[in-house]
Symmetry: C2
Subunit: 413 residues, 2 copies
């Protein structure tokens, strides 16, 4: 029986990262695939205590339907935390609780994007945001980016040249970006606000990693600098507490939050009442700040281990970022090498990672790849990067042989 | 600052039912608004025990990212339950776990509907499905329906007359339908499969209430009768366990489930690992079948109380359904009366309910309304329907006065 699907489904590939995550079940494989927070850092006992307390104290309310906006207690706790930890002035009625920040991204597309609308993003950017936006069939435009973030003068130039009525959003991940680990400078943040204000362009600031800074001074969130009500801020408990609870949030101007709420109503009515009250109860007695510090410490040591292993195992013509926070670093192989071929060889050697090309809105950059160091203990990182080194030598050797072969062929009269 | 939203947002009203749910916080108000399962029936202690067990035994796995398809253990449990309780032959790889069946409906639109595609549905049908579909800007066509379900000969007639390339789906709620409480006869189910096969038209069978039958023999699910792989079955733990956990599922042919998985990947990555493993652990030690029987008993008594109160408080020209299961019944006022006016008066008397018009894909039927009996104890039902009766007498009195006034005006020369 021939079942016909929507045309949009042809444009949505399976997420390479999610597919890779499935491989992590293969015990012999070391995967640097998903941006998983460290398994060692989940507060199992505190959550168990909080679960018992919520069910005993809140009873049926914890298991019944609740409002689309999210539970009042959790919205209050999130608003307070944004104020205290991020310096963002907000209030509970400007918060919508979502199923992780992935849903916040999906709802962003839903409420903003008509077919053909333009979304500007970094080059590269978060792969699953690209795929979430693609559902709405926009034009995704990647703006050249460097170690200080998006090159905003390039954004301005592109904006001048494009059909202004179709320019709808700028989507950015300014802190310890996925996939590169890069952080925007303050100057670029201010420049972006300036361009956004000039063009009345909403900015989606996706900020799941911000609290995981290992060193150096913090740089204010773009939203904390916004005086025009143009920035919508997305974040999540996934990296500071647990991704398996699927709790994230959107913070934005009331008129924008209202649209997100309408979008969420159709998407899933509301996020789990139980997990919302569970986290609220946890926060009452659990020191989340110290907990985040523990996660940070674990990730810092792992970043160091991966940087050291990469320096040891790979030659100098492979460049990589040295992020000062977050979960990821980013590799650039010599231009003629293909990270997908490296992955194929890597799988033979027992190591996996996502090739970089799908992180670019408009493709290309086949010589790049992402490595997550967050969920592998140091010996596993050393072993895995050792395997990556072996695969790399294999790949580079083959490439050299090809070049030699071509040279020989060229000398044959 | 003028923020521009997607054009689709203009066509998506806030759900009248969700907005009503917010009113339930007003303590003096008796709301027959939401289809809430009885507060008395949540297995608080068993869930508390299961939560402690999951965190102790599964540790980090319960809080980490998991696969989009859903946890293998829960997919297995759902497949077994579908076999045992619903007579539907399926397997874990044909199940996708979703955030309630609302997300399953949303994903249905996402993977099937292009703008202008036709969705056939009952008249009336589930309001939040209409709104979820509207995101994709289809043509929603309501097919005349009676106490035996959709009048399938009318569907066939409409199909013959329409652009076949745009006919994409039939969406039906065959058991204790929301909003009418009606159940399809076996004959109509077989007729629908016949028409669907003839036109290669997928059938979405939304079945959240099926296990809540109070009396009479069960009629097989449409999916259990399907030999052509055309039926996608949606269901949920919301009505048999807890809506606040937000756990539902889609069961369908592997090629269709694959598309749902792609859709869900972008929507929220996956449903909460913790709530999935929580329910899996609960099912290991908790007798869900006896539990469902308790919910059924409570709802049956409340249905009886509401039917008796309606017979007592409302005159014979108000017609209403007497459902043999589920959470809802459906009222038709005399044709000249407007349920929105009744709601306005009802709020003054301290009773709320959703007017029926939004449940019709193409509007009209302003004289109808839905009442949920499931979450109100009998004295509250008696009191609430008493208030409804008072509001009704007020409305009918005013209407009579208008008619008299018009008659007097008409006699003035």
């Amino acid at each position: 029986m021939a079942i016909r699907f929507a045309a949009r489904m042809a444009g949505i590939p399976a997420s390479a990262v999610r597919e890779l995550l499935k491989l992590t079940a293969r015990r012999d494989l070391i995967s640097f695939g998903g941006g998983l927070p460290p398994n060692e850092c989940f507060p199992l006992e505190a959550l168990s205590e909080a679960a018992a307390r919520v069910l005993a104290e809140r009873g049926a309310d914890a298991l019944q339907y609740s409002t689309t906006e999210g539970c009042a207690e959790l919205r209050r706790a999130v608003a307070q935390r944004m104020q205290a930890r991020l310096g963002i002035d907000t209030s509970p009625d400007q918060i919508l609780i979502t199923a992780g920040s992935q849903q916040a991204i999906d709802l962003t597309g839903r409420i903003f994007l008509d077919e053909g609308d333009i979304v500007f993003c970094e080059s590269p950017t978060y792969l699953a945001a690209l795929n979430a936006f693609r559902v709405w069939r926009p034009r995704l435009v990647d703006v050249p980016s460097d170690d200080n973030g998006m090159i905003v003068s390039e954004l301005a130039r592109t904006l001048e040249a494009c059909d202004r009525s179709r320019a709808k959003l700028v989507y950015v991940v300014p802190d310890f970006q996925n996939p590169t680990g890069r952080t925007w400078s303050l100057e670029r943040r201010l420049e972006l606000l300036d361009v956004a204000a000039r063009h009345e362009l909403p900015v989606i600031e996706d900020s799941p990693y911000r609290e995981l800074r290992f060193e150096g001074g913090t740089i204010p969130p773009i939203k904390s600098l916004d005086r025009r009500g143009l920035v919508v801020f997305l974040s999540t408990f996934s990296k500071i507490l647990s991704p398996g609870l699927r709790l994230g949030w959107v913070a934005g101007p009331p008129a924008v939050i209202e649209k997100y709420v309408l979008g969420k109503q159709g998407a899933d009515l509301h996020t789990s009442t139980f997990t919302q009250l569970l986290v609220t109860a946890l926060l009452e007695r659990f020191d989340l700040d110290s907990h985040v510090e523990r996660i940070r410490d674990v990730c810092r040591v792992r970043r160091d281990a991966m940087v050291a292993a990469l320096e040891r195992e790979l030659p100098g013509d492979v460049r990589f970022t040295r992020p000062s926070g977050g979960l990821f670093l980013w590799l650039e192989l010599p231009a003629q090498l293909d990270a997908r071929q490296l992955l194929r060889l890597g799988l033979q050697h027992g190591v996996a990672f996502p090739p970089g090309e799908p992180f670019f809105a408009n493709g290309g950059h086949a010589n790049t790849l992402r490595l997550a160091y967050s969920d592998s203990p140091e010996p596993r990182i050393a072993e895995g990067i050792g395997r990556l080194g072996a695969a790399y030598r294999h790949l580079a050797g083959t490439a050299r042989q090809h070049t030699l072969d071509e040279a020989i062929v060229a000398t044959v009269p």
